[in-house]
């Protein structure tokens, strides 16, 4: 039976008509035209559909949209602010961490979850942090570089913020 639910996505409230069996990935992409989140394996293995729900990593391909009522969803579209890319996104560009780009939205969200919890991760911690995101192009080296670089940018931003 179809019903209307309200979803909090990237700080905005969306009323959306769904069936109970609709998956978050399909609601994001097909009903709300938020196609930044990619659908890969569809069974929780590849991580490209990673979003943050209430700040925690979640796989949109294994999440019922109806179970997200009252929770805060962050997708790749919510990373930039006022037309300025998030430092993690900018680091991915500057370090050449994007090739085909299909894994990138999920990588960026996993990196955000990691850096929110651990602002200065070691290389090993970065690898663990993105271990649920598969990339078939880069060999991961530049992605790890980008996350390390992003950590530095965010810390510098936080330090300058304190001084201001």
């Amino acid at each position: 039976m179809k019903r209307v639910i309200e979803l909090d996505i990237n700080g905005g409230a969306y009323d959306v008509v769904i069936s109970p069996q609709d998956l978050l990935i399909d609601v994001l992409r097909q009903k709300l035209d938020l196609t930044g989140t990619k659908k890969g394996c569809g069974q929780g293995d590849c991580g490209t559909c990673t979003v943050l729900i209430d700040g925690r990593r979640a796989l949109a391909c294994l999440t019922l949209a109806i179970a997200c009522e009252g929770r805060r969803i962050l997708t790749i579209e919510g990373m930039e602010k006022n037309g300025v890319l998030h430092p993690i996104q900018q680091a991915f560009i500057d370090k050449g961490a994007v090739q085909c780009g299909y894994c990138t939205p999920g990588m960026v969200l996993s990196a955000k979850a990691l850096l929110d919890e651990n602002p200065a991760p070691t290389e090993h911690e970065i690898k663990l942090g993105i271990s649920g995101n598969l990339c078939r192009c880069t060999g991961y080296v530049k992605i790890v570089d980008a996350v390390r670089d992003a950590a530095g940018r965010l810390q510098a931003g936080a330090d300058s913020g304190k001084g201001a």
Partner: protein
């Protein structure tokens, strides 16, 4: 991929949940993290009329009280267990197991209740829980009952749960005095891997005599469920935990397990790996106790 249609229910109390289960029984499935259930519904293994979500229920707590032990709510995530300072301090093998499951995303979603109720032979939580003497509390409108995890899981993806029951919490007794528990899985890669074999050990040493006073060993992915190694345990109890005793017990684990050949590994390779893991975990646990 789309799911077959169902109605979605999110009860606000465990009494309401018990009522729904009593009413719908085999026509419903409980949703916790969804990492197994959603896949199984997509594959049409389950076509429930009702999906009952636990998300509004207070079932995610992790508490420890000396003398009473550890209580983990069924909906506690694997990530929460991995990060719990209480679990790390008293039940380190559970942290080792939780940290090995799936990926960071899977660990943030999946729950201990799901890992126990779905009862995969290669599930990571049951082996250490079995060595720690864990019990599960099953609740229904008829009341609650508590049974050892070791008897709760009865076979490959089979448990003693009744259609009107839900797993409410997992209870782990206080650690034995002067004991340590350790767990290691073995797979072909570090993340997003299904274990070829795993071994959990829990061992206590009498500080007065230096002899092993208690030992439990459980092996995963080498039998239909997390399987105890009673012969190996018997070889340890009352003995000095030196290299010979530990190696002898590890070799006995290899003999006692009941692995199968499948696409991930041959039975003989699994048997070998069980021995290697058992030796490592026994040595790690003994070193943790004796410093």
């Amino acid at each position: 991929m789309s799911l077959p249609p169902f109605d979605y229910l999110a009860p606000g109390s465990t009494a309401e949940l018990a009522g729904l289960l009593a009413a719908h029984r085999d026509r419903c499935r409980i949703l916790a993290g969804g990492t197994d259930l959603v896949n199984w519904m997509a594959e049409k293994i389950y076509r429930p009329d009702y999906v009952i979500d636990l998300r509004k229920l207070p079932l995610a707590g992790i508490t420890y009280e000396k003398g009473r032990g550890l209580t983990i709510g069924a909906a506690a995530t694997i990530e929460a267990i991995e990060r719990s300072p209480l679990v790390r301090q008293y039940y380190y093998a559970l942290v080792q197991a939780a940290g090995q499951i799936g990926s960071p995303q899977i660990r943030a979603m999946a729950t201990i209740g799901g890992n126990c109720c779905n009862a995969s032979p290669c599930a990571d939580m049951p082996p250490p829980l079995v060595t720690l003497g864990a019990t599960v509390v099953l609740t229904s409108a008829r009341g609650s009952r508590e049974l050892p995890l070791e008897t709760f899981i009865t076979g490959n993806r089979q448990t003693a749960i009744q259609p009107d029951e839900f797993l409410e919490r997992v209870h782990v007794p206080d650690p034995w005095p002067n004991s340590a528990c350790r767990y290691s899985p073995f797979g072909l890669r570090a993340a997003q891997e299904i274990d070829i074999a795993s071994v959990a050990v829990n061992i206590a040493i009498d500080p007065a005599t230096g002899l092993v006073s208690n030992a439990r060993i459980a092996m995963g992915a080498v039998a239909p469920f997390a399987m105890r190694a009673p012969g190996a345990e018997a070889l340890l109890v009352g003995k000095k935990p030196d290299a010979d005793a530990l190696d002898g017990a590890a070799a006995q684990c290899s003999r006692e397990c009941r692995p199968i050949d499948d696409l991930r590994a041959s039975a003989s390779y699994r048997r070998h790996i069980v021995g290697v893991l058992a030796r490592r975990m026994l040595r790690d646990a003994v070193a943790a106790i004796t410093g």
